[in-house]
Amino acid sequence: MPAVQETIDRVRSIDVDQYKYGFSTDIESDKAPKGLNEDIIRFISAKKNEPEWMLEWRLDAYKRWLTMTEPTWARVEYPKIDFNDIYYYSAPKSTPGPKSLDEVDPELLATYAKLGIPLQEQEILAGVEPKNRVAVDAVFDSVSVVTTFKEELKKAGVIFCSISEALQEHPELVKKYIGSVVPVTDNYYATLNSAVFTDGSFVYIPEGVRCPMELSTYFRINEQNTGQFERTLIIAEKGAYVSYLEGCTAPQRDENQLHAAVVELIALDDAEIKYSTVQNWYPGDSEGKGGIYNFVTKRGDCRGKNSKISWTQVETGSAITWKYPSCILRGDNSRGEFYSIAVSNGRQQIDSGTKMMHLGKNTSSRIISKGISAGKSQNTYRGLVSAHRKASNARNFTQCDSLLIGQDCGAHTVPYIDSKNATAVFEHEATTSKISDDQMFYCQQRGLSDEEAVALIVNGFVKDVIQQLPMEFAVEAQKLISISLEGSVG
């Protein structure tokens, strides 16, 4: 369609930087050779000085992975990934273990500055105590480089560190919980992650503690051809509360980059975990070339009674998104929530949704999914709501709305609802529509341009989800959605 090309060109000419975060930093990396075999896994494990059981765990996962085949059920198309053409380990060379920001490679800091990551270090150095404090565990490629606010968190008894650090300092906790929500053999990408994960975050909130600040990790994919295999593990003990933010940007590259993360959340009795994501990885050029492949396994386990896990996500980036943040509602009276905005433009393909597995009594869940497709993108909601035989009085409400902008995109809804208990009440509704001419006319009449009108209407469409985001993210997310849809009308 010529109009799309025209607008793409227009946006290109306006936005000199094209992809704002599309740059790369030249830092020498300490890399393992390309490819995957037992030696690489031993290398990764040795590099990180891991305990023996961890290596065994990885090798076991690798053996299982070799017997598995890539899943094909998602509505995404991409050239076959050569798993032997990927670097499985790369660490910034010049940062063996910085004690303070001064020791950090200045180029790295410059990268963060360009990204606008609020490390807030200057404020701390100047003795300024900000009102909304955010602790950042910044991940540059695969190794945690800077962890801030650690001391203050320590005072509260919260452990917030990289998973490799946790393996050194709290191996018993890692051993107890890792793989207990997403088993090693869960799926192709999770198994791969189990074998080769390099780093990620570890959070432990002790009993009765309300985490004093929102925890945040900024992921940044940098090194060319580096697969990112993050592993995040969050444990909220009885009565604990934590809100965790995850945000992503990635530099522009020609080669497709693979990202296969695993996130495990565990909420014990009366605990609550709120996990928010803004994902803005490079989506590829107008032909869909070069974007990130995002194959993520995220799952939360409401293990204790009255526990609650809430996922909120804003997905605007990646060439391919394959992501189903799920909740296992095991504890009686536990609650799962999923709020999602998935925006696709250009040639992006999103296959995302959630699973709510009701196992305990009186469990409830809520799913609000807003999909917006523009350009030539495909946007699929795929979800499962199930009630086990013993899940008496389970409740679910699901709403999936799709908005189509332009005639070359697709919006699909594939919900599965399995009820094995008569007292379970499930409601599901889905709608698909376009921005109506009346709405556009109304906005234009009041002097808004086409793009401003679309941004306004879309932001109204996703309002229910934006409201669930923490303040810092809400503003960013709204901006991100507007940027993502640039060039989709006109």
Binding site: M68, G406, T413, H428
Partner: protein, 441 residues
């Protein structure tokens, strides 16, 4: 999650393969038909019976269900067929209608009102005869139905059935009933019924599936083609005996301005799958699909539908209600596809299920697959039990609990029943629903 290599051939698959080898030369149709059958057979050999890893069949594992496949039924004598028909009982006994009789997959003109229909402008031929005369064009199906395993099996084995053609501008004065009866010996059947409604014709067609015993495997296909401006109601009632395996496919193709209502009630059988494939072939057409399923006692009944909006300006409405009682499994899968350029499509799908006892099991999968932007599409799905508040309201007014429950189930189903909009069908269906409810323990 992972693709499995093709597993070993099951006993049923081997029996089907063997049956084809022995039957192939006797099956009707010329070289073109034979070629289609061979293609379908090759596809069957490659994939086997559909099982839980085949997405469209994930809730109805036919491979696991069919332990064995009985031999395909041979044609009976007229007297014998008459006896089978008499023993089956009639759903529309009191209705003035034209009746067409299919016993064990074979059409019996001598037991049917062929002459009466001819007087109204309807031509009826045995499908075997039609296939021999007109060839493979009769086996054409909507593209969304082609890949289905049961449709393929029907193409391989269909030996007889009906070809019913309604002339242009014909308005039938009485409904046509097509009775599909299975005999008291376990047998396999694979009949095909082709209904071609001419331009601006109007007809009500009642299809009933009755009889059978434990082990009966029927795999029927009804291909409905509604001509330009035609108005068609096809009401299908499946009330087979408890142990049968029943796969019933209906395909519906709508030409410009056609209006068709496809109703499917699934009450009988041990393992039943009712699948409907609807394809819009001309603009400004409308299809209404209604489903009523009632299952209990370890029954498994699946209602699956695919609506393919391939052209602009068409409308589809789907209302499916399922009542599940002790130990039974209900399945609903519905997919609305809107192809690129099928602008101004209006598709609304609603499915609701009522679970009457603790161990009832219901799976729902309503899907939207949309490639055009100027459309209105929605689906809703619910699953739950009888509302205790409503029950209390009725009991507070002196209505005994059992009666109150019956009333509430009737009310639940009435949304779909009322949409039928045809007195004869409503009366017959309501009778069945009340029978079902009154036999509740």
């Amino acid at each position: 999650m992972n693709m499995e290599p093709r597993t070993l051939e099951t006993k049923a698959e081997a029996a089907l393969a063997e049956a084809y080898e022995t039957m192939r030369d006797a099956l009707p149709g010329g070289a073109g038909v034979a070629r289609l059958r061979t293609e379908a057979f090759d596809a069957f050999r490659a994939t086997g019976l559909p099982h839980r890893r085949v997405e469209e069949w994930k809730y109805s594992d036919l491979r696991a269900r069919l332990k064995d496949v009985p031999a395909f039924a041979a044609r009976r004598s007229e007297a014998d067929a008459k006896a089978v028909l008499a023993s089956a009982g009639e759903a529309y006994a009191s209705v003035d209608r034209f009746r067409l009789v299919i016993v064990d997959g074979h059409f019996y003109p001598e037991l049917s009102d062929v002459a009466g229909l001819a007087g109204e402008g309807v031509t009826v031929r045995p499908f075997a005869e039609a296939l021999a005369a007109d060839g493979e064009a009769l086996l054409d199906l909507p593209v969304v139905a082609l890949a289905d395993a049961a449709v393929g099996l029907n193409a391989i084995f269909c030996a007889d059935g009906l070809d019913l053609a309604i002339a242009d501008n014909t308005k039938l004065t009485k409904p046509v009933e097509i009775v599909h009866v299975s005999g008291a010996e376990a047998a396999s059947t694979a009949e095909r019924v082709l209904i071609r409604a001419g331009a601006k014709s109007e007809a009500v067609i009642l299809q009933t599936f009755v009889g059978g015993v434990e082990g009966t495997f029927s795999n029927t296909l009804t291909d409905i083609r509604a001509g330009k401006g035609a108005g068609l109601t096809v009401a299908r009632l499946q009330a087979e005996a408890a142990g049968t395996t029943h796969i019933a496919t209906a395909t519906l193709t709508l030409a410009e301005e056609a209006q068709a209502k496809l109703i499917c009630a699934g009450i009988g059988s041990g393992f039943a799958r009712h699948q409907s494939f609807v394809a819009f072939d001309g603009e400004n057409a409308r299809a209404d699909l209604l489903g009523i399923t009632m299952v209990r006692d370890r029954q498994h009944v699946d209602q699956t539908l695919v609506v393919d909006h391939a052209v602009p300006h068409c409308e589809s409405r789907e209302i499916f209600k399922t009542v599940v009682d002790d130990g039974a499994k209900g399945v609903f899968q519905g997919k609305i596809i809107v192809r690129p350029h099928a602008q101004k499509t209006d598709g609304q799908m609603m499915t609701q299920s009522l679970l009457l006892s603790e161990n009832a099991d219901m799976s729902l999968k309503p899907e939207l697959e949309i490639f055009a932007d100027d459309v209105q599409c929605a689906h809703g799905a619910t699953s739950g039990q009888i509302d205790e508040d409503l029950l209390f309201y009725l009991r507070a007014r002196g209505i005994p609990e059992k009666e109150a429950r019956t009333l509430l189930v009737l009310a639940f189903l009435s949304e779909a029943v009322e949409e039928i909009n045809d007195e004869i069908v409503i009366e017959a269906f309501e009778g069945r629903i009340k029978d079902w409810l009154s036999t509740e323990e």
